[in-house]
Amino acid sequence: VDDGAAWRDDFPVPLSEEQRVTRRTFTKSLAGFSCAAFAGTAGLAFRGQPAPGEGVPALRVAGVDEVPVGGATVFGYPSEGDPCVLVRLDPETFVAFGQKCTHLGCPVTYHPASTTFHCPCHEGFFSGRDGAVLAGPPPRPLPRIRLERRGDELWAVGVVP
């Protein structure tokens, strides 16, 4: 009913163009939303679980001489899609961590001057020695990659979550 009230001028949609939404239509929309939300959550659960029987392979990361003291190199482990960082703390000490920030998955970068990893997304800081959270929103340390020295080569042999 257009009664000519002044407040009707403030609404951008003319009364003649309003669409009536029936309860049936509304509940159908809710059903669609519910189905989509369930599908999304289930899809994430499916993709996020490790495949059954999936072993963690050993992978050659780098030669000992390929990484200078204080330097770092990036590699993928256990798959190419899982970026990790190998750091040489001193001539005999190597450590490796997953490169995904434990907050929301942004890649962290290594800063040799402070021996820290920095996440630029939300200013998270991790220790370069043990991956512990030093500052910022990350809830957990960086996952550590177990390393094994085989002669003059470094191999990744496992992940410590």
Partner: protein
């Protein structure tokens, strides 16, 4: 007839809960916490089942 508003309120609650569960799942997925994903999917599935059942009843009445 009086049941319908209660059903509609429950449906909205279920939708809100599923939104929260989806958020939890996304955060668990991106943050490397796969142990959150299974319970979130299970909860979302239960919400979907409740929603579906209630909607069928509303449409029949």
């Amino acid at each position: 007839v009086r049941r319908v508003p209660a059903v509609m309120a429950t449906l909205l609650l279920m939708a809100g809960a599923q939104l929260v569960l989806l958020t939890v799942a996304v955060e668990g997925f991106l943050g490397g916490q796969p142990d959150l994903l299974g319970p979130a999917a299970l909860g979302s599935g239960m919400c979907f089942a409740v929603t579906w059942t209630l909607i069928r009843r509303v449409h029949r009445s």
